[in-house]
Symmetry: C2
Amino acid sequence: MSLPKEKHMTLSGAHLIAGQPAAAATNQFSATNPVTGLALPVRFAEASAEEVARACQLAEAAFPAYAALAPEKRADFLEAIADEIMTLGDALIERCTAETALPAARLTGERGRTVNQLRLFARVVREGSWQDLRIDPAQPDRQPFPRPDLRQMQIPLGPVAVFGASNFPLAFSVAGGDTASALAAGCPVIVKAHPLHPGTSEMIGVAISRAVVAAGLPGGVFSLLQGRTNDVGAALVQDPRITAVGFTGSLRGGKALYDLAVRRDTPIPVFAEMGSVNPVFLLPSAVGAGTEALAAGLANSLNLGVGQFCTNPGLVLLQEGEAGDRFVASLANHLRECAPGTMLGAGIHHAYESGVARLADHPQVDQVLIADDQGERQVGTAAFTTSATNFLADHSLEEEVFGPATLIVRAADEAELLQVASHLHGHLTASLFGSPEELEAHRGLITVLTRKVGRLIFNAFPTGVEVSDAMVHGGPYPATTAVQSTSVGTAAIRRFSRPVCYQGFPQAALPAALRDENPGGLLRMVDGEWSRK
Amino acid sequence: MSLPKEKHMTLSGAHLIAGQPAAAATNQFSATNPVTGLALPVRFAEASAEEVARACQLAEAAFPAYAALAPEKRADFLEAIADEIMTLGDALIERCTAETALPAARLTGERGRTVNQLRLFARVVREGSWQDLRIDPAQPDRQPFPRPDLRQMQIPLGPVAVFGASNFPLAFSVAGGDTASALAAGCPVIVKAHPLHPGTSEMIGVAISRAVVAAGLPGGVFSLLQGRTNDVGAALVQDPRITAVGFTGSLRGGKALYDLAVRRDTPIPVFAEMGSVNPVFLLPSAVGAGTEALAAGLANSLNLGVGQFCTNPGLVLLQEGEAGDRFVASLANHLRECAPGTMLGAGIHHAYESGVARLADHPQVDQVLIADDQGERQVGTAAFTTSATNFLADHSLEEEVFGPATLIVRAADEAELLQVASHLHGHLTASLFGSPEELEAHRGLITVLTRKVGRLIFNAFPTGVEVSDAMVHGGPYPATTAVQSTSVGTAAIRRFSRPVCYQGFPQAALPAALRDENPGGLLRMVDGEWSRK
């Protein structure tokens, strides 16, 4: 599983500050191959406070020019990043597999998702409706006061700090959705790489830096910082030049950054997506005839990527009874057949084992199965059951166990199912399985779940997050710290912009998108009417 | 200045909790007539913790039905509130004048603005584009994975707490922009009335409650709480059923609520507009020929409403020189001619006097004029000058003095003017006076100021905030706690909504706005294209 030597040579272990390698620190760390437990080649520097500050200073310096870049050029730049990532070739997949234990096929797919996401945001930038352009022409003769000419658009916030996620080393990491949407909005980005895949991060960072150079942009548009301690991230979030934060990871990590950000002299928004248990409601007809297929599908969804998905179905709710018993038995059979897997890192592996042990030891929780570990570095699936009464009595049972474990909650009847739903805190998704007629009959449940999640799913599992216009990957706290946003899909760009209004400006002094002429046919609201005129 | 007795009778001094009068508290307070210093009739109850909790519980209970209300009915409800406010007639204006010392003509205009704002949000609700409707139709044959049917829309957040402002007792108070936009979004509202105009607040609260009853809505859609202490507001913001906060007022007040909200078990967004000094940049040509008119206009803007506007021009920047000296002399003449005025309350009056004294006593600040107070309850205008060097050296000189006072900062040259601009913190507005050619020549200054404010104004004063589609009344901290929002204009509705996605839902189970058929011709993005089809 070690890489051929010539491929290591491309890694320096340095940060990339405005395109320049930097590694002043004496503190260094290595990546570990989760399959072997052995250190991978190349040692990475821990960013110093001075390096964090320098990256922020250069991002701030780059901001005016980057914010003013014509949309066409910004779109070209995003596409160039995608091309540079593809140019990295197999070496990227190989290093990434070595760092994460994720299979090459999965990572090849994730790379496709990542470059398509960059290209999708290029389309968003060219299309332009994200800018929410609004023009109220002057009404000089209006009584009792004339109306001035007013023109509003979304402008970029400023330098953005992005934290790479462990579980999607490409799609939610250095060139992932946060970086793509922040760059699309016109914000320079400083990425704090996830310490579980520093080599992958450096390679992607090099690809972005090459695109920055090729586009003739100021280097500060992008920097990459490595680090294993919390100090780098804390310094970054507290730097006065940072104007927003994008994060995907644990509740503890995201909430810590949020707490720092809101206590700054100038508080800033934190868009932290912190995962959830994604409740799956099985309505009576779902556990009737289709039990076998449903159990197989759920087992597959639960074990996808060794259960390391933000949208992993960690909570299943159904009504007590024979049909439910048959479903649980069937699910146990399918879970028993799942191949064990290697998790992203030893810390995540141990946290999973602790979480499973916590449920196994819980006096009100019954074990359905804990699959045998096959080898000390692999984990298997786990499933537990409890009653709705017990679930309602213990908030800790709603906590995420990151990995392929799920808790099945049995309600006495429909009313108790609704009670459980009402009791839930925020999650990314909620799934409902049943017939269309049952869905109609459960409007009350849908109403309750709409309060709890960002995405409601009918007859499908929560894993698999489409990158598209209509996707919402978000939800009420503690799923995120920013219930009004999505971190996946084209609407994610709005996390990194803010409105500004120009009053009485001469045409020549206005941004091009707000001038009277509209050669690009941008969607604008003029005097209350949306049109492309 | 006392009201005829029969008009007092309409006031009860009670809160309105879901339409029902409530006044359990033994603590009571009166409004004071700022002109006479005497207490006005009727004593108002201080809301108890139990009353706050009950209002929140009823708002939560009302939420599902109100959120599900058809847009047409929600729009009718907003218009009915406007009608009910007009039905209050002269009694409203009289009580409001007695409580605030604002002239009847101003308050009549403000009432018009308030009811027009409600009607404008009715239009927004009917038009529907604020919901950002997005449909990605299923692609069952897509490779390697099918795309599910995905549909996104904005839905209301939940119960919203609104804090009435002192300085706009109608337009930014009980039925002001925060309430109008939250109700338009589908959120129940609990208003904490400002203690300087409790009678006005009760009258408006009664008008809203009448509209709630007439529309057949659950009473919890609206509650009004009175109180003079910080306890009521603190309890409200910390109630777990509150999902967002709207506030207009001081930096100290808004920041205190923000700090409470972000420290909750479940943090919530706080949309606090906290005012600013709204820098006015006078480019060289502006202080040339047109000095006299400009000085007259600035004096008028500064003294409007006794300087008690969020957008009051409290900071003027120009270059040193004879033309500047002439402008300052001319401004002083115009300010001297301004009639003194009565401020909204004794506390605000004393804070203004302290602020003026602070500037007068500042060793690096020169006094241009402090108009004589005419009578102990009135204040006059004040103006001061300092150098850019001194301004840059002392951050406290950028603090707002709420009232008709301004600080003129003289820069040695254009470079120093730019330096001052770069040094500014967040403000609501920045104004530039000069020729179109000068504006062109100051692109660097515009770029810097765009970072600092929500609205850039050319050749006009900042006072006067149009309620329209393109207005931005917001800006970077400390002007607001929510740089990504506006609290005035139709875009203000987006403060109280969040996106949700329905995946694979049958047509019948979808909200009407997301079904395939689109009889109302709502603007929607379908497969990447915006249309009304």
